[in-house]
Amino acid sequence: MTTTLDKPAAKPRKAKKSEPSVLFDAPGPRARVRNNIIAVVGTLILLAIAYVIFARLQKEDQFDGKLWDPYLEAETWTEYVFPGLVGTLYAAALGSVLAVLFGVIFGLGRLSDHRWVRIPSGAVVEFFRAIPLLILMFFVFSGPPTIATAFNREFIEITPFMAVVIGLTLYNGSVLAEVFRAGIQSIPKGQSEAAYAIGLRKNGVMRLILVPQATTAMMPAIISQLVVLLKDSALGSIIAYEELLNKGFYQMKANFGNAVPALVITAAIFILINMALGYLATWLERRSRRSRKSAAKTMGTGVGAPPAPGMSVTGQTTGEAGGVGAGGLS
């Protein structure tokens, strides 16, 4: 009894020590000595880099207490950081909901049997995926007023908030549409054939068979894209939307001249939120890989958006990029 209990306890420790990898053997005595030497040298190099950064910060008096003092006052948090955070979360939450809706509609549209639905949906999705989000946001912000003037109509007031949400919806919705399409297509054909065979119609096949299975498979990829959406909401600061980057970095820097502390605090908040979402995506991915309820192959948190036009290569690497955290970079 005791021996069986001891063994599993010993195993993880051994595994941790030898760190088996594709690239190197469990180190023997000589390799361990060499690795230790390299580790010491590596530590010294990393410390040297850290020192260079530290020295530069020291030289410019960035460790001066008065630059960090604002963060000790409640007002800084209630006036700048929290309102900014609320602005970011508000835009990201609304953008997420709308982007998922947009993605479902256009993703299913691209799978339609009718050409007059399929081709326009495809054109919309490919157009918004191909252009930079910032360009799109600028247009959403300044376009409608000039269009209204051209029609001699009343001036349409587009607030920065609306521009951010619409931009995030159109861009990320288009990416999600591709994710949905890939998710539905990843389900083996036998599933829909069996569904048709037992007499379901197109609507039933989609609603009862394909979408439920695809949803579990797509969840990690969707959450990764929502991380991208949250990061992209920071673009709103460029059109003067009051979100975390605007309030927590620009306004703090303008009022207190503390770029470095403001960067540290603002980045830390973004990283914490995104890593939490990233953990959620990885957890969901692992869970749905384990479960056999769905015939679809789980789409990984991956290395970003679905391939650009002309790049749909079979057998390409997606997913299992591992690492904790966010999805793609755009």
Binding site: V22, A39, F151, K231, A259, I271, V303, T317
Partner: protein
């Protein structure tokens, strides 16, 4: 109605627009090379036998991947340049160009590292074992056996990253360097012809990104490792 689709302002300002896209291409090429080098080093660190390198690599990737690019580039201008007085060139535009390139490359490298790492995972165990069996060291097996195969299997994801990076060059507007987004906003204000201007810039980006997509797709198929 005619005013909305009057493309003459686009042709009148063609010089500015071409200049904007020339800046996009310059940024893309420099950042692409720099981030590929940095990303490969990071990927090597993340699979290294020494724990401190793995830890440093993981920390870097998690920090840069989860920070908005806008914040990184804003810090390049307001933090590195204005506060820390880091100057890479006496000429202001050249200085901001390199700061923008370094910010963009630092961000993109994290994604390239992750793509490469997932490529390393696709290399069959036997390849690495054979490399070790013939006596190659960690660096030799990485350089001669693992990375060449890993690169070939992640060309398509790398292509996606480079295309996204091309689109991300617009964010350089916050790092005080003049490129497409800045010029488009300026032309919006000067000309007011928002729809033609927007379409011109959208088409411009498609002209750059679509061939990139087809090129990387072709390259991925051509260099695919047959197993």
């Amino acid at each position: 109605m005619d005013v909305l689709f009057d493309f003459t302002p686009v042709f009148d300002n063609m010089g500015d627009i071409l200049q904007a896209f020339w800046a996009v291409i310059r940024l893309t090429v420099t950042t692409g090379i720099l981030s590929l080098i940095l990303g490969t080093i990071l990927a090597g660190m993340r699979v290294a036998p020494v724990r401190i390198f793995r830890g440093a690599g993981t920390l870097y990737v998690n920090v840069f991947r989860n920070t908005p690019l806008t914040l990184i580039l804003a810090f390049c201008a307001l933090g590195l340049s204005d506060t820390l007085h880091i100057s890479l060139s006496t000429q202001s535009t050249v200085n901001f160009y390199w700061l923008a390139v370094f910010g963009l490359a630092a961000y993109t490298a994290a994604f390239i590292c992750e793509a490469l790492r997932s490529g390393i995972n696709t290399v069959p165990l036997g390849q690495a074992e054979a490399a070790r069996a013939v006596g190659l060291t960690f660096f030799q097996s990485l350089r001669l056996v693992i990375l060449p195969q890993a690169f070939r299997s992640v060309i398509a994801p790398l292509g996606s990253i480079f295309i996204a990076m091309t689109k991300n060059t617009t964010v350089v507007i916050v790092a005080s360097y003049v490129e497409s987004a800045y010029i488009m906003r300026q032309l919006f204000e000067e000309e007011g012809a928002t729809i033609p201007m927007f379409l011109a810039f959208a088409i411009g980006f498609m002209i750059i990104t679509l061939p990139m997509g087809f090129f990387f797709g072709w390259l991925a198929k051509r260099l695919a490792v047959s197993r």
